[in-house]
C-alpha cells in the first residue's frame, strides 16, 4: 500500500501533524485521483458516524451488578478480618511488652553492683524451673554471683531439655568449676577465664 493511501486515511481521521496536513492538502489540489479517493472514503466514514449500538440483555447487566455487590461484601469481610488481626497483633504486643517489663526488677540480689544484678536478672528470666532446683542445692548456696567479661551469663537453649535431672547435674558439675569472685572490679583476668557454657563435655 502506497504512502499516499495511508496518508489519505490519516488525513480523513485528523491524525496528521499540522505540517503534514498542509503538505497533503497541497497534494490534493494537484492530484485529482487522490481527491476522489479521500472524498469517497469520507462518504463511507460519515455513514459510520450513524452506527447504532446494541444494548446488552438485562439479565447479563444484572449479573454484572450482582458481582459488584458481592465484591462489596467481600471487601467488607476483608476489612473486618483486618480489624480482628490488627487487634490480635496489638494484644500480643501488649502482652509481650508487659511480660518483659514485669520480669525486670524481680531479682534483687543484696550486695551486688547494679550492672551485675541486671545481668543476673536476665539469667533468672531465662532459666527454667529445673535450674531453679539447682539453685536450691547446697552447692549453689555456696555459689557467689559472677559475671563474665561482658557482664553477661551465657546459656544455650540445649540445656533446657525435658530431662531436668540431667540438666541439673550438668549445671552442678559446671558450678564446681567456677571460682567465686570476691571483688569483680579488680580481677579482670579471672573473669576472662571463667565461662559457664551449655556444653556437656
Amino acid at each position: 500500500m502506497s504512502d499516499k493511501n495511508i496518508r489519505s486515511v490519516a488525513y480523513l481521521y485528523n491524525e496528521m501533524d499540522p505540517s503534514e496536513k498542509v503538505e497533503f492538502e497541497r497534494d490534493l489540489k494537484v492530484d485529482e485521483n487522490l481527491l476522489i479517493e479521500v472524498e469517497t472514503l469520507r462518504k463511507v466514514s460519515r455513514k459510520l458516524q450513524d452506527m447504532d449500538t446494541i444494548q446488552p440483555p438485562d439479565d447479563v447487566v444484572n449479573s454484572v451488578l450482582r458481582s459488584l455487590e458481592s465484591r462489596k461484601s467481600a471487601g467488607s469481610r476483608r476489612s473486618q478480618k483486618f480489624v480482628y488481626f490488627s487487634a490480635a497483633a496489638v494484644l500480643m504486643l501488649g502482652l509481650t511488652v508487659g511480660f518483659i517489663l514485669s520480669g525486670e526488677g524481680e531479682i534483687d540480689m543484696p550486695g551486688q553492683p547494679e550492672s551485675e544484678s541486671a545481668s543476673i536478672g536476665t539469667f533468672q528470666n531465662v532459666v527454667p524451673a529445673s535450674m531453679g532446683n539447682a539453685n536450691s542445692t547446697s552447692e549453689t548456696d555456696k555459689l557467689m554471683p559472677w559475671v563474665d567479661h561482658n557482664d553477661v551469663l551465657h546459656f544455650r537453649d540445649g540445656l533446657y531439655g525435658s530431662d531436668a535431672s540431667s540438666v541439673d547435674s550438668i549445671f552442678r558439675q559446671s558450678f564446681q568449676k567456677l571460682t567465686p569472685i570476691t571483688n569483680p572490679s579488680q580481677s579482670p583476668t579471672a573473669r576472662q577465664n571463667l565461662h559457664l557454657t551449655g556444653s556437656q563435655r
Partner: protein, 211 residues
C-alpha cells in the same frame, strides 16, 4: 437505554467525567459511580463484542467476563493514568480475541467411529451453512444494516472500524492494542472503508432492482 435502576443514580453523577466516577468507585467504593460508568459505555462495549463474535450467547458471556474482570482489577491493575474506557476496551478486546483464537484452534481430530453416537468423523462435522443461517438471522433481528455490513468485514478490519468509530481511539492506540504498526492499522481502516463502500453499493443496487 440506561440501566433499569438508573433512576437511583443521582443526576450529579451523570454530569461527572469518567475519571471522577472511577476515582469515586476506587477510593470510596461508590457503586453508583460504577453503575453510571456502565450506563455510559455498556452498549458500545456490547456492540463491539457482538459485532466481533456474531453470537448473542457468547457475546453475553464475554461481556460478563469483561465487566467481572473490570470490577476485580480496578483496585489493583488500573492506574487511572489513561482513559478508563480504553482500559475496559482492552480487556473486552483481549477476551474477544481469545475466544476467536480458541474457536479457530478447535478442530475435532477424532476420526474414528464413535460408538456412542454411531457416527464417523465426517458425520459429526457441524453443518456450517445452518450455523451461518442461524447467526445471520440473529444479526438481522438485532442490528441495523450498517452493523451487519461491518460484521461481514474481515476480523482485522472490523476491529479497527469498531475501535475507531465507537471509541474514537487514536490509530496509535489501535495499533498498540492490535499489536501492529500504525501504518498497518491505517491500511486496515482504508480497506475496511473500501469494502464497506462496495457493500453499500451492492445493497443500493439490490434495492433499486427490487423496485
Amino acid at each position: 437505554m440506561r440501566l433499569k435502576n438508573s433512576d437511583h443514580i443521582p443526576r450529579s453523577y451523570e454530569q461527572m467525567a469518567d475519571k471522577d466516577l472511577v476515582h469515586l468507585f476506587r477510593r470510596k467504593d461508590d457503586q453508583l459511580a460504577f453503575r453510571e460508568l456502565m450506563n455510559r459505555h455498556q452498549a458500545k462495549i456490547y456492540s463491539y463484542i457482538f459485532s466481533m463474535i456474531q453470537n448473542r450467547e457468547t457475546a453475553n458471556d464475554i461481556f460478563q467476563e469483561t465487566f467481572t474482570k473490570v470490577i476485580t482489577k480496578m483496585d489493583d491493575t488500573y492506574n487511572e493514568q489513561g482513559k478508563w474506557i480504553a482500559w475496559v476496551m482492552r480487556i473486552a478486546h483481549n477476551a474477544t480475541i481469545d475466544h476467536i483464537r480458541k474457536q479457530k484452534r478447535f478442530v475435532d481430530v477424532k476420526g474414528s467411529y464413535d460408538k456412542e453416537s454411531k457416527t464417523d468423523f465426517y458425520e459429526r462435522l457441524p453443518d456450517e451453512d445452518s450455523i451461518g443461517q442461524q447467526e445471520k438471522l440473529e444479526l438481522e433481528e438485532s442490528t441495523s444494516s450498517l452493523l451487519k455490513h461491518i460484521s461481514n468485514l474481515p476480523e482485522e478490519q472490523r476491529t479497527v472500524v469498531m475501535l475507531r468509530h465507537y471509541y474514537e481511539m487514536p490509530f496509535k492506540e489501535i495499533a498498540e492494542l492490535t499489536d501492529v504498526s500504525i501504518n498497518t492499522a491505517l491500511g486496515r481502516m482504508r480497506y475496511a472503508l473500501i469494502n464497506l463502500r462496495k457493500m453499500f453499493d451492492e445493497e443500493h443496487e439490490k434495492e433499486s432492482n427490487s423496485v
